[in-house]
Amino acid sequence: MLRFFLARVAMAVPTLLIIIALAFFLMRLAPGGPFDSARALDPEIAKNLRHIYKLDRPLLEQFWFYLQSLAHGDFGPSLHWRDFTVNQLFATALPISVALGTKAMLLAVLAGTALGLGGAMSKSQIGPRIVDGAALFGIVLPVFVVAPLLQLGFGLTLHILPVGGWNDGAWQNQILPVITLALPQIAIVARLMQAALRDALAMPHIRTLRAFGMPGFHIYGHALRAAFPPVVSYLGLAAANVLTGSVIVETIFGIPGMGRYFVDGALGRDYTLVMGTVVVVAAAVLLFNLIVDLVLAWLDPRVRYESRPG
């Protein structure tokens, strides 16, 4: 198990490095720079700024500088919000995004599993179809449609929840963003869970349990255990999807998280800010995938003996 873990970590590190390099050079290939704003700067000032931010050095040298400062945990100064470093921006933004993301994931897993279990256990044909149909809605309704509708319903019409803002993380402000983020994931997890459970219930070893007249809780316990791996392996992708959704959700609800900084940074060609976001996001996704792999290995004894599952 330890060997498995180490092999996984060892693979994640070069992956992260390559992503950083990819993003770095791709962005510098783009025409235009951070100081080409609408009101033209004095060429002398622009030149000075470029010098200060080392933008006038050769590209490889810049990359080397960037890696060096990254190694010290320094994301560099923001080129857009020139009074802040990227670290300062992240210090407030990251906890907000993490809080939203983890809550949404938790909600997705719990609600999705419950719905999927309910659908698979229902004796009639109707139960699974209801879950499938509801899930279809959850999957095809884009986050940016759901969010305004929720704002309209709970905020503007019923006046029970705030329409937006963060308000230092007051729970009322978190409810709508978390639900919006979680909704499509709940739908997908429910569908996956239901399908996996139905497959599991049709497996020969479950038939063996039935043939031995084992009690229902025992049978469903085994089926659930067999159904978890496909659902867990989806969670890696779910994390990436939640991150994607958070960009939209933070924009709509006016939440000062990572997603919003990313969009603003991209629009303002804030190299360091965008790079910082890419690094943090990629690291988060890799970390989550690592956890997923470990959980899978823990769930399925067959995986533990291979270093590359699936």
């Binding site: 063996t208 007249g213 025992h218 399925d300 270093s307 590359r308």
Partner: protein, 530 residues
């Protein structure tokens, strides 16, 4: 067998239907205490459906009617709770696939332990101790260590022993074994059969033994019920059925492979000679793992005359299929191969191409060896496209029709897709694809293993006719000694990538020298064949 013993299980007019299709059509049979009843039939005859229906294990959309009495209790209308209290405790089941019938995510010990705790009410520690005893009883070495093994860490035979240990955990009155040996190699199957017979004796159970093979059933069954198309066509005491089968279908099932070969041309020239063939595979490890080399075939030498058949026999994993592909230069191999006096050693893929029309291959699985996207006519004439590209579409069609006639298929079938054909028809199509090029050597890789016995006999007869008509040489690969004995002039016995014994068929069958050959033969004999 005590005929007067009281009935334990009685099926009366049992019917199983899926929508409009009837899988079991009004079946009745009685199993008495201590009796072993065998239900025999080919795949799709409804034998498994019968017992699954009796225990209410069929999926929801299956409809079951009739009556199933266990000690006078009607199982079909019993409450689920009372049925559950019978299952596992009084009635136990062993399924065909030992890999998939055990939960891959739990240790063997915890699975047997769960049965003991939940069905026999043993506390955890006692269940653990009893599970160990049961594994011992089922003939598993080091039961204490095996308790902590996961199913995938065990061999097929060991897994089936675990399934049996689980089944006998509560000393059932009735053990239902659904093709318990079909997925296993013959030598292993023979041992499992011995175990079942022994356990049945010592525990005094009744047993329902389901099999497609009358031969296997011979040693173990008191009564035999022969099923076909959802009905019992003949029932009776085992001895009687074997001595005097009344129904035609039973006779077909009992029919052995045609015995001796008629021709054995000794003077024919050598067609294929292989010396010191070796095949190694490198298993690619992960990023941080060393490559592992795996030797599939080592130091094999053999020689085949024109118009004769060499039988390669061995159990799964013995390297016989790899050897066959190596002989045709389809996998890279070391050693020397000469075909019709020509050394194949230095030939690359392009240089081999003209030779390919003389050396062909027929596969085991007629489902996998035909592309589902192509029509039969395109499949059969694929070789012509390669070797006679000038041939017109119309000529190809004519050739396809002729080729199908040669393998005794209706030429009209050439417009169909493989999915629309039966297993036997598909294998004939595969043979036609090989024969259309008029080859001189055909490697037959388990050509009959995926087929029912009645179909097997037809295919073997066809192969023999083709051999006589065209003077073909065959390399016939099989795990089934009965097939090899019926068709081969010479036998080579393979084990772990090497040939352990080689010689004329008669010598090998009657005077085997190697212990391994003897055990293979013994297993084949025990299971009734040969």
């Amino acid at each position: 067998m005590d005929v007067s013993a009281e009935p334990l299980l009685q099926l009366r007019d049992l019917r199983v239907s899926y929508g409009a299709t009837l899988a079991v059509k009004g079946l009745s049979l009685t199993v008495r205490r201590g009796e072993t009843a065998a239900i025999v039939g080919e795949s799709g005859s409804g034998k498994s459906q019968t017992v699954l229906a009796a225990l209410r294990l069929l999926p929801r959309h299956a409809h079951t009617s009739g009556s199933v009495l266990f000690e006078g209790m009607e199982l079909l209308t019993l409450s689920q709770k009372r049925l559950d209290s019978l299952l596992g405790r009084r009635i136990a089941v062993v399924f065909q696939e030992p890999m998939s019938s055990l939960d891959p995510l739990f240790t063997v010990g915890s699975q047997i332990g769960a049965v003991l705790r939940l069905k026999a009410g043993l506390p955890r520690r006692a269940a653990y101790a009893r599970a160990k005893e049961l594994l011992d009883l089922a003939g598993i070495a080091e039961p204490g260590r095996r308790l902590h093994a996961y199913p995938h860490e065990l061999s097929g035979g060991q897994r089936q022993r675990v399934a049996i240990a689980m089944a006998i955990a509560c000393n059932p009155d009735l053990l239902i074994a659904d093709e318990p040996t079909t997925a296993l190699d013959v030598t292993v199957a023979a041992k499992i059969l011995d175990l079942l017979a022994k356990l049945k004796q010592s525990l005094g159970m009744a047993m329902i033994f389901i099999s497609h093979d009358l031969g296997i059933v011979r040693r173990i069954a008191d009564t035999i019920h022969v099923m076909r198309n959802g009905e019992i066509v003949e029932s009776g005491a085992a001895a009687k059925i074997f001595a005097n089968p009344r129904h035609d279908y039973t006779r077909v099932l009992l029919e052995n492979m045609p015995r001796a070969r008629r021709h054995a041309r000794r003077d024919a020239p050598v067609l294929l000679r292989a010396e010191n063939i070796g095949v190694k595979f490198t298993l690619r490890g992960g990023l941080f793992e060393a490559k592992r080399a795996f030797t599939a075939v080592a130091g094999v030498s053999l020689c085949l005359d024109q118009g004769r058949t060499l039988g390669l026999v061995g159990e799964s994993g013995s390297g016989k299929s790899t050897l066959a592909r190596a002989l045709l230069k389809l996998v890279p191999a070391s050693g020397r191969i000469s075909f019709d006096g020509r050394d194949l050693a230095g030939l690359d893929r392009a240089a081999m191409r003209p030779l390919r029309r003389s050396m062909q291959l027929v596969f085991q699985d007629p489902y996998g060896s035909l592309s589902p996207c192509m029509r039969v006519s395109d499949i059969v004439t694929e070789g012509l496209r390669v070797h006679d590209p000038a041939i017109s579409r119309k000529q190809r069609d004519t050739r396809a029709a002729l080729a199908l006639e040669e393998v005794l298929l209706d030429p009209e079938l050439r417009q169909r897709f493989p999915q629309e054909l039966s297993g036997g028809q598909r294998q004939r199509v595969a043979i036609a694809r090989a024969m259309i090029l008029k080859p001189r050597l055909v490697v037959l890789d388990e050509p009959t293993s995926a087929l029912d016995r009645t179909v097997q006999i037809g295919i073997l007869a066809l192969l023999e006719d083709l051999q006589d008509a065209h003077g073909l040489a065959y390399v016939l690969i099989s795990h089934d000694l009965a097939v090899i004995r019926a068709a081969a002039d010479e036998i080579a016995v393979m084990k772990d990538g090497r040939i352990v014994e080689q010689g004329p068929t008669q010598d090998i069958v009657e005077r085997p020298r190697e212990p391994y050959t003897r055990s293979l033969l013994a297993a084949a004999l025990q299971t009734g064949e040969a």
